[in-house]
C-alpha cells in the first residue's frame, strides 16, 4: 500500500533534521572514535576554513565557475544545434551519430590530456572538457525530444500546410523542451565536474587545482571546503536551470 504523504511542515523539517543529525554525529562521534582530523576534519573545522581563507576559496571558485558556465553553454548549444541538423537530415544522422556515440565511450579522464595538449594550460581546455561532458546527454535527449511529436500532430501541421520551419518552431522545439531541460539539469552538475577534472590535470587555479594542492599537502580541512564549494556550485547551477525551466514550461 502507498504511504500517505507527509504534512508540508514535516516534509521540510525532516531533511533539515536528517542533515543536522549527520553533521552532529560527524562533529562529535568521529573524533570520539579516534578518527584523525587529517582524514576527516570536523564540520566546524571545515567551516573555519571558509572564515580563514575566504579570499583563497573565492579566488579559486571564480575560474571554475567561468569554465563550468562557459562549458555548459557551449556544450549544450553545440548539442542542440547538432540535434536540429540530425533530425532534419537522416543521412547526416546515419553517417555521424555512430561516431559521436564512439566519442562518448572514451572516458573523459583519457580524453582530457589530449584536450590539454591541444589547447594548452589556460581556461580554454577546461571549458572544452566541461563542454564535451555536457554535450552527449543533451544531444541524445534533444534528438529524442525533437522527434517526440505524435504522428497526428505532424498530420495536423500538414493539413495546415505548415512549412518545415513552422513545424520546427511551433511543434518540434516546444515538444523537445521538457527533455532538453531534463538533460540541462544533469549537465548543470556534470559541467562543474568537467571543469574540475580539467583543473586536476593541468592548472594552478580553480577548485580542482585547490583540491589537488590540499590533498598533496594533507590540508584536509581545505580539501573538504573545496569539495563543499564545488558541490554548492553545482547546486546553484541546478537551481538556475530549474528556475528557467519553471518560467518557460508551464504545462
Amino acid at each position: 500500500m502507498r504511504q500517505a504523504p507527509l504534512p508540508p511542515a514535516l516534509a521540510i523539517a525532516l531533511p533539515v533534521l536528517g542533515a543536522a543529525s549527520i553533521l552532529f554525529t560527524w562533529q562529535f562521534l568521529l573524533p570520539w572514535l579516534g578518527v584523525p582530523a587529517y582524514i576527516v576534519p570536523t564540520p566546524t573545522a571545515i567551516f573555519g576554513v571558509f572564515q580563514k581563507s575566504f579570499a583563497l576559496l573565492l579566488g579559486n571558485l571564480w575560474p571554475t565557475l567561468i569554465e563550468a558556465l562557459a562549458g555548459f553553454v557551449i556544450g549544450n548549444l553545440a548539442a542542440v544545434m547538432l540535434a536540429v541538423l540530425f533530425v532534419h537530415s537522416r543521412v547526416l544522422q546515419a553517417a555521424y551519430f555512430p561516431i559521436v556515440l564512439f566519442f562518448n565511450t572514451i572516458p573523459i579522464l583519457a580524453l582530457s590530456p589530449i584536450i590539454i595538449l591541444i589547447f594548452g594550460l589556460g581556461m580554454t581546455p577546461k571549458i572544452v572538457i566541461a563542454a564535451v561532458i555536457c554535450f552527449f546527454p543533451t544531444l541524445v535527449n534533444m534528438i529524442r525530444g525533437l522527434d517526440s511529436a505524435s504522428s497526428s500532430e505532424h498530420e495536423l501541421f500538414r493539413v495546415l500546410s505548415a512549412t518545415r520551419s513552422e513545424i520546427f518552431w511551433s511543434l518540434r522545439l516546444p515538444r523537445a523542451l521538457p527533455m532538453l531541460f531534463s538533460s540541462l539539469r544533469i549537465a548543470s552538475a556534470t559541467a562543474v565536474i568537467g571543469a574540475i577534472v580539467g583543473e586536476w590535470i593541468g592548472s594552478d587555479k580553480g577548485l580542482g587545482a585547490l583540491i589537488i594542492q590540499a590533498s598533496f599537502n594533507y590540508q584536509s580541512d581545505r580539501l573538504y571546503a573545496a569539495i563543499v564549494l564545488s558541490s554548492s556550485l553545482s547546486i546553484a547551477l541546478f537551481i538556475l536551470v530549474v528556475a528557467i525551466e519553471l518560467r518557460i514550461i508551464k504545462y
Binding site: 498530420e155 493539413v159 500546410s161 511551433s170 504545462y251
Partner: protein
C-alpha cells in the same frame, strides 16, 4: 446537388507502388456536397486512410479522387478542409485560444485565401467562452475535443473530416457532442465525413452510412438513413425502423470483420 467527393477505382496502400500493401482497393464513392456521411468498418479497413487521402496527407496508388471539384492538394492549400483527430491533438503549451488560432499561426505562406480570426465566436459556439486562457491539461476530454473542433472550423472549411473524434469519451459526453455536432452541421452546411467504430453513433449522425470491409478495404454496404430522420437529421434511438437499420449495419459489419 454537386458532389463534394468523387472517388473512382481508388487504390491506396503503404509501401512502394509494386510492393504496396493495399489498404483500399478499387473504391468508388460519391459524397454529396453538404451531406453527413458516417463511415463504419473493422480495424484496418481503410476508414482513416480514406480521410487521409481526401485531406492530401496520403497519395493514392491508383484511380482518381476529386475533392470539392479539385485536387486534394488544391483543397488543402485553400484550407477548405478541417481535420479532427481521435486524440484532440491540442498543443499542451498553447492556451485554448491559441490552439484554436493555430491555423492563423502556421501555413499562411501557401494559403490561397485569407482566413479571419473567428476564435472568440467559435469558442462561444462550442460552449468554451471563458476558457480561452486555460491550458489543455486543465480541460476535460469532452472540452478538449470541442477545442479541436473549433480549431478545425476556424478556416470555415467546406469539408470536415472527423476520425473517431469522440471515441475516447464517456457515453453521456459523446451523446451531447453528437447533438452539438448535428446542430453545427445544420448551421454551417459543411460536408462531414465521420469515421466511427460505433454503429449507434454512425446511424444517429449520418444521413448516409457506409460500411467498409478489410483486406483490402472495399465498400460492402451503403445505407441511406434519411427516411428515418426527423427534424434536423435527428432520429430516435428507440424507433423500431432505426433499430432495424442498425441491425442491418451490424450484420454488414460482422460480414466485414
Amino acid at each position: 446537388m454537386a458532389n463534394a467527393i468523387e472517388a473512382n477505382r481508388l487504390d491506396v496502400g503503404y509501401g512502394g507502388r509494386q510492393t504496396a500493401v493495399k489498404v483500399l482497393a478499387g473504391l468508388d464513392l460519391a459524397v454529396a456536397a453538404g451531406s453527413f456521411l458516417s463511415i463504419l468498418g473493422p480495424s484496418g479497413c481503410g476508414k482513416s486512410t480514406l480521410l487521409r487521402v481526401v485531406a492530401d496527407l496520403l497519395d493514392p496508388l491508383g484511380g482518381t479522387i476529386s475533392v470539392l471539384g479539385d485536387t486534394p492538394h488544391a483543397v488543402r492549400s485553400r484550407r477548405d478542409v478541417g481535420f479532427v483527430f481521435q486524440d484532440s491533438t491540442l498543443l499542451p503549451w498553447r492556451t485554448v485560444r491559441d490552439n484554436v488560432r493555430l491555423p492563423l499561426a502556421v501555413g499562411q505562406g501557401s494559403l490561397t485565401r485569407k482566413i479571419e480570426d473567428r476564435s472568440e465566436e467559435l469558442l462561444e459556439l462550442m460552449g468554451l467562452a471563458g476558457f480561452g486562457e486555460r491550458l489543455p491539461h486543465q480541460l476535460s476530454g469532452g472540452q478538449r475535443q470541442r477545442v479541436a473542433i473549433a480549431r478545425a472550423l476556424l478556416g470555415e472549411p467546406r469539408l470536415l473530416l472527423m476520425d473517431e473524434p469522440f471515441g475516447a469519451l464517456d457515453e453521456i459526453t459523446r451523446d451531447r457532442l453528437n447533438d452539438e455536432l448535428l446542430a453545427l452541421w445544420r448551421r454551417t452546411g459543411t460536408t462531414i465525413l465521420f469515421v466511427t467504430h460505433s454503429i449507434a453513433e454512425a446511424a444517429y449522425l449520418g444521413e448516409r452510412v457506409i460500411v467498409l470491409a478489410a483486406n483490402p478495404g472495399r465498400l460492402i454496404k451503403d445505407l441511406d438513413m434519411r427516411p428515418f430522420k426527423q427534424d434536423g437529421n435527428r432520429c430516435s434511438r428507440e424507433d423500431p425502423a432505426v433499430i432495424a437499420a442498425m441491425a442491418e449495419l451490424r450484420a454488414a459489419l460482422e460480414r466485414a470483420s
